[in-house]
């Protein structure tokens, strides 16, 4: 049901039946290692290219999520997914293996919540009994596509972010014990004229703030409604800017705890990741792994995940274009 200007309220409370995460070795050395279902010891997963490895991560996470829900691929009506590769090949090729009717999405790193919002919407409206939302990213395939060859020795500036290797998937169903997807806010594209692809946090922060404000306005709630609000992958630089912006706009964020997935997954002391983490998998594995675990343990009752995405391409950057950004918010609650 439409609520306000750009939000959906899911009155039938679609439930997250299961979720699964699969990550690479570098993520396994971070502080959230215990929250991931599978931590791989190497980056290739037995494949012969980064792109194929990325797809393997996604297939694994998706299959595991379906299994955890006690279902088979045939019982899932629709699969929503996307990734960062050109023509979203990781998701589409994984969909070829999964054989679930598929809708490919692209919202850069915001795809994690874009897919969850749509998957929940379809279930809520009775369009499906079960849906799958899955996203992935791979550090090396992203480096190869957007930046330099992985072994090229270029120094990354302190605003740069490290793309998470891994995949996260969730199965949404009409009936379940929760956690429940209760509402979602679809963001607008915001472009504040940032051009530097090594400063994505600063580019995306205004989009995140715009979506958060829209969410509070549409649902007529205050930040205090949530135990935790997380943005997707603003990382240290973007997070600080977002805090400044929220303060400037008089959003009472002191009522809640505000954090960023990009700052949670790696250890700044021992892992050299500059500003923090990014990628489709960043918000996906933190939400589907760490945050859902905390909800199951009863530490969190209501969370809002605001996944952020920088909608640039290697070409748009070369043609001197600024970086348009987007953010989608999904609220997850432990009780109906």
């Amino acid at each position: 049901m439409l609520k306000g200007h750009q939000s959906w309220l899911f009155e039938n409370k679609p439930s997250i039946l299961s979720a699964a995460t699969s990550v690479g070795p570098f993520e396994g050395r971070g502080p959230l290692a215990e929250d991931f279902d599978i931590v791989h010891g190497e980056l290739y997963l037995g494949q012969d290219s980064w792109e194929k490895a990325e797809r393997a991560f996604l297939e694994e996470a998706a299959k595991m999520a379906i299994q955890h829900a006690g279902l088979t691929e045939g019982q899932i009506q629709f699969h929503f997914g996307g990734d960062l590769m050109n023509q979203i090949i990781s998701s589409s090729f994984a969909a070829r293996t999964l054989t679930i009717p598929y809708l490919g999405l692209f919202g850069a790193c915001s795809t994690s919540m874009e897919s969850l919002a749509l998957a929940a919407y379809i279930v809520n409206s009775g369009g499906a009994k079960h849906t799958l939302a899955a996203t992935c990213s791979h550090n090396s395939s992203v480096e190869k596509q957007f930046r330099y060859p992985t072994e090229y020795g270029s120094q990354k500036p302190p605003t740069a972010q490290f793309t998470v290797t891994g995949a996260g998937a969730a199965v949404i169903g009409q009936e379940g014990k929760g956690p429940f997807v209760t509402s979602a806010t679809i963001g607008r594209v915001v472009d504040m004229g940032i051009k530097d692809p090594f400063n994505m946090g600063a580019a995306m922060a205004p989009a995140a703030v715009d979506t958060m404000e829209a969410h509070f306005r549409d649902l007529q709630i205050e930040p205090g409604y949530y135990d935790l609000i997380v943005t997707g992958d603003l990382s240290k630089v973007g997070y600080e800017i977002a805090c400044d912006l929220l303060k400037k706009h008089n959003v009472p964020m002191h009522q809640t705890t505000y954090s960023d997935c990009g700052m949670m997954i790696y250890d700044y002391e021992t892992q050299n990741v500059q500003s923090g983490a990014s990628g489709c998998a960043c918000s996906a594995v933190v939400t589907y792994g760490h945050l859902l675990n905390r909800m199951r343990r009863g530490e969190l009752n209501r969370i809002l995940v605001v996944a952020t995405g920088a909608l640039l391409s290697p070409l748009s950057f070369q043609q001197n274009e600024t970086i348009p950004c987007i953010a989608h918010a999904v609220s997850i609650e432990r009780e109906k």
């Binding site: 072994e151 120094q155 302190p158 504040m192 205004p206």
Partner: protein, 160 residues
């Protein structure tokens, strides 16, 4: 052509960028300067040692030793690139590893490794110069300009 007005930022964008700027750590640090100085110097020291080895043990003259020395330095760089070490040193060293010939070797080798999987001809062949290509193109242009200047300002070269 993109109009210049389009490239200009709106007042809101300008205001935001001023706000964001305050939170962005500076790319320039003195730490980077001394690290680049240290590693750049160290690479040159290794190069000098290799050259002296060729002179003392190989029987080369100092001038003749230059080419095999460059060869050895390139080999070391390529080996470090293959083992995934060079990029880690580069993150620490910055310009210190980018400027010497080892940086160029790394640019070629890293591209070769990366695009090999996309096929020998279109992948390796088509993309090996992806990073190093601009250096060669503009290096050639710069050399051409310097060559012309040399002919104009040094009359001895004509007919020499």
């Amino acid at each position: 052509m993109v109009s210049k007005a389009k490239k200009k930022l709106t007042p809101v964008q300008q205001e935001y960028q001023a706000l964001a700027k305050k939170r962005e750590p500076s790319k320039f640090t003195f730490k980077n300067l001394y690290r680049a100085f240290l590693t750049g110097g160290l690479i040159c020291l290794v190069g000098e040692a290799v050259q002296q080895m060729f002179v003392h043990f190989g029987g080369y003259s100092v001038k003749e030793a230059a080419s095999p020395t460059v060869g050895v330095m390139i080999l070391i760089s390529v080996i470090l690139t293959c083992f995934g070490i060079y990029d880690k040193i580069a993150q620490w060293a910055g310009a210190g590893t980018a400027v010497p010939v080892t940086g160029f070797a790394n640019a070629m080798a890293s591209a070769a490794i990366e695009y090999r999987r996309d096929g020998i001809v279109l992948g390796l062949g088509g993309s090996i110069f992806k990073v190093a290509g601009p250096v060669i193109v503009f290096g050639t242009i710069a050399a051409f300009a310097v060559g012309i200047a040399y002919v104009i300002f040094d009359p001895n070269i004509v007919g020499g």
